[in-house]
Amino acid sequence: MNATNLIVTASPHLKDRDTTPRIMWTVAASLVPVILASAFFFGVSSILVILASTAGCLLTERWLGRKDALRDGSAMITGLLLGLSLPPGIPMWMAALGGFFGIAFGKAIWGGLGQNGFNPALIGRAFLQTAFPVAITTWPTPGGDFFALKGDLFAFPFMSPQITHVVTSATPLGLFKFEQKLTPIVDLVLGTTGGSVGETSAVVILLCGAYLAWKGYLNWRSPVSIILSVLVLGQFLHFINPARAAGGLFHVFSGGLMLGAVYMATDMVTVPTTNRGRWVFGGCVGALVVVIRVYGGLPEGVMYAILIMNAFTPLINRATQPTVFGTVKLKEAK
């Protein structure tokens, strides 16, 4: 028999079929319904914004990342998520710049995939929030003609955008915070409110997340703990001071909470590896979100809450190491 084509490797010789690219691309694909939903509400503008941010991410990854780093799909996810977290009327060059910043400073300088401490999409968004505070808080009203642009998307870089013919409105969180107007929960759940591209339909996001969790590509512990903690703490503060704090359900379904909980607080790279750690992480994110929303100067706090907790991830990891088999008794004996 011919033994020349035999290989010799170390055990184990079998491998589960799931690979990192397969996980990443499935997560990216699961965002398609979310994107379609946002196109339904905001028309072609949302597609353009997502295209721009994704292009920014992919080109930057291509430029700064490992050789064929694009194949693993992680830059794709960053691009899609960044686009979904921006307002639909933002000029495309800003979205692309955010993508560049997110990948370059949120990922590449850390050493690429798996090494970054903070969620790159949120880094990109935080940069835009600081650099263009007006553009990123201009929220067009959903609905209207599909092809009507929601803002000056094609503005040239560093020209002041011309937003004249677009109807804008505050987000439900802004409405409550600055005008004490409560948006009905039904509208929040369905997504017929103003907000960023993907901050709209909580139902669609939840369904996509459930699909991923069922496939085993998403650890359900952080989203569940975030939602629970927001619900409980939000309701508690509402109970104390109804005028200042909206109810728990309102908090859960408004703003970027769903997108953040399901897609950003589950980014495996930047959240704790241990299951116990994920509960801690989620619980803290939820609490921070409510505190920022109710007591902070900003109407929305999901981005900062997740970024802050990203910084604590290594600490949480250390504190929640599993107990090694056969060591419980040893500790007791000591």
Partner: protein, 442 residues
């Protein structure tokens, strides 16, 4: 059912249906037998034949070198043609005795070489088992007589018999339980006698209902033997996992099972004890599962120890064109064979031929901290973190993170989506750490 299983673990494809229904058959004698003097854990045997000697089936070719050693016996009658370094299935070269098999010999056993066990004292049984060259047949090849006489400072209350056979593909223990349940029970009887215990538990994974039924049917009335169905999960057959499943006790980190009062032996080894007392012949053949999608005719075979893998595969009609890797043992913990001239030895549980679709890919991605390895590790280590440490050679830190508790089961590498060779790194780290410790002590 948590009591009969353990947390974590993985579910690799079992692939046992290739051979689980095939009765055990005897393989004809090959033309040449290769007997390495090192086939067991402990000291290698010392040579006691020379080139040109005629040996009968069952004659020793090497004597035990002390208590932690067993003799090696000729598995066929013939002439010693060479004594030289020869490829060992573990990849090294080992001193081996070559025997040209006498084609015309009847290969009949001589008069009884192993005494009957009835009426022997415990010491005599232990000695007889050692002289018969019996070792654990589950893979590690630990000398069986050592397990028959545990250290005096511990009391043993239960004999646990490992019939889990959790490695994918392998079915030799399964077939042994189905076809020779009396031998398993007989082996149990001998061990319970020497250990002085009154209770034995045979753990069998639930995917082998025929084995459980056969063992139940053959159960002797006068012994307290329980047959315990176990959850199907890898690595259910790992010693510490099995003890946990049976007794609910965790063996303390770094300690031997005997500290919690149990001794574990695998079913194949028990059948081997029974066989040597039964036939009067020493351990010179064993049941090997020869299987895999890369093999034309998978089978469960009684193989003379020393048969070259080449001859064994040829007897199974050879390998398919897409065969890619030949594994000595199961695919999770077994070793890839680099040279098919290497022989079957006492510890060879199976030979698995994997195809190019099954072997691991080469692309490795960075760790994405998905946490799957943490959920897989049966001893609750953090393989992701240990892997990071291994890559930067922080071996001492790895030791503090309980590297010694890693049993190299491979579950972490199996699940890692980034294809990081975690358990392979840990194996290398253990070696490196030992070297550091030796250097430190010197």
């Amino acid at each position: 059912m948590a009591f009969f299983g353990f947390a974590h673990g993985v579910h690799p494809p079992e692939e046992k249906e290739l051979t689980s229904g095939l009765p055990i058959r005897r393989m004809p004698y090959p033309d040449e037998i290769i007997l390495p003097l090192r086939q067991h854990a402990g000291k290698p045997a010392t040579l006691c034949v020379k080139v040109g000697d005629r040996v009968e089936r069952g004659d020793p070719v090497g004597h035990a070198d002390g208590y932690m050693s067993v003799p090696i016996h000729a598995s066929a009658a013939g002439t010693v043609t060479a004594i030289e370094l020869w490829p060992h299935p573990d990849g090294s070269m080992a001193q081996s005795v070559h025997i040209k098999v006498d084609k015309y010999a009847l290969q009949m056993p001589r008069p009884r070489l192993v005494p009957r066990w009835e009426g022997l004292t415990v010491e005599q049984v232990v000695k007889a088992v050692q002289e018969a060259g019996v070792v654990g047949l589950g893979g590690a090849a630990f000398p069986t007589h050592v397990k028959l006489a545990p250290p005096k400072d511990h009391t043993v209350h239960t004999l646990i018999v490992n019939g889990a056979e959790c490695e994918p593909y392998l079915t030799s223990d399964h077939r042994t339980m189905v076809e020779y349940p009396e031998r398993v029970h007989f082996g149990c009887r001998v061990m319970m006698h020497t250990l002085g215990v009154s209770k034995a538990v045979i753990g069998v994974e639930k995917n082998k209902p025929d084995a459980i039924a056969a063992l139940e049917r053959a159960k002797p009335k006068d012994l307290d033997i329980t047959i315990l169905p176990l959850t199907v999960k890898y690595p259910q057959g790992a010693e510490k996992m099995l003890i946990h499943a049976v007794t609910g006790v965790e063996v303390p980190s770094g300690k031997l099972p005997v500290t919690v009062g149990v001794v574990v032996q695998n079913v194949g080894s028990l059948a081997a004890i029974a066989e040597v007392f039964d036939t009067g012949l020493p351990l010179i053949e064993r049941i090997v599962t020869v299987t895999g999608h890369g093999l034309k005719r998978p089978a469960n075979l009684i193989v003379p120890v020393g048969t070259k893998l080449k001859d064994l595969l040829a007897y199974c009609d050879g390998v398919t064109p897409n065969a890619r890797e030949v594994i000595n043992g199961g695919p999770m913990m077994g070793m890839a064979v680099s040279n098919l001239d290497a022989p079957v030895i006492k510890g060879t549980t199976g030979i698995v031929v994997l195809t190019s679709d099954e072997v691991r890919g080469e692309t490795v991605y960075p760790c994405i901290h998905c946490g799957r390895c943490l959920e897989a590790c049966p001893v609750f280590l953090n393989p992701s973190w240990l892997g990071d440490l291994a890559r930067v050679r922080r071996y001492q830190d790895m030791a503090d993170e309980h590297l010694s508790d890693c049993m190299l089961c491979g579950s972490c590498s199996y699940v890692c989506p980034s294809n990081i060779p975690l358990s392979q790194l840990f194996q290398a780290s253990k070696v490196a750490l030992r070297r550091i410790q030796i250097a430190g002590a010197a």
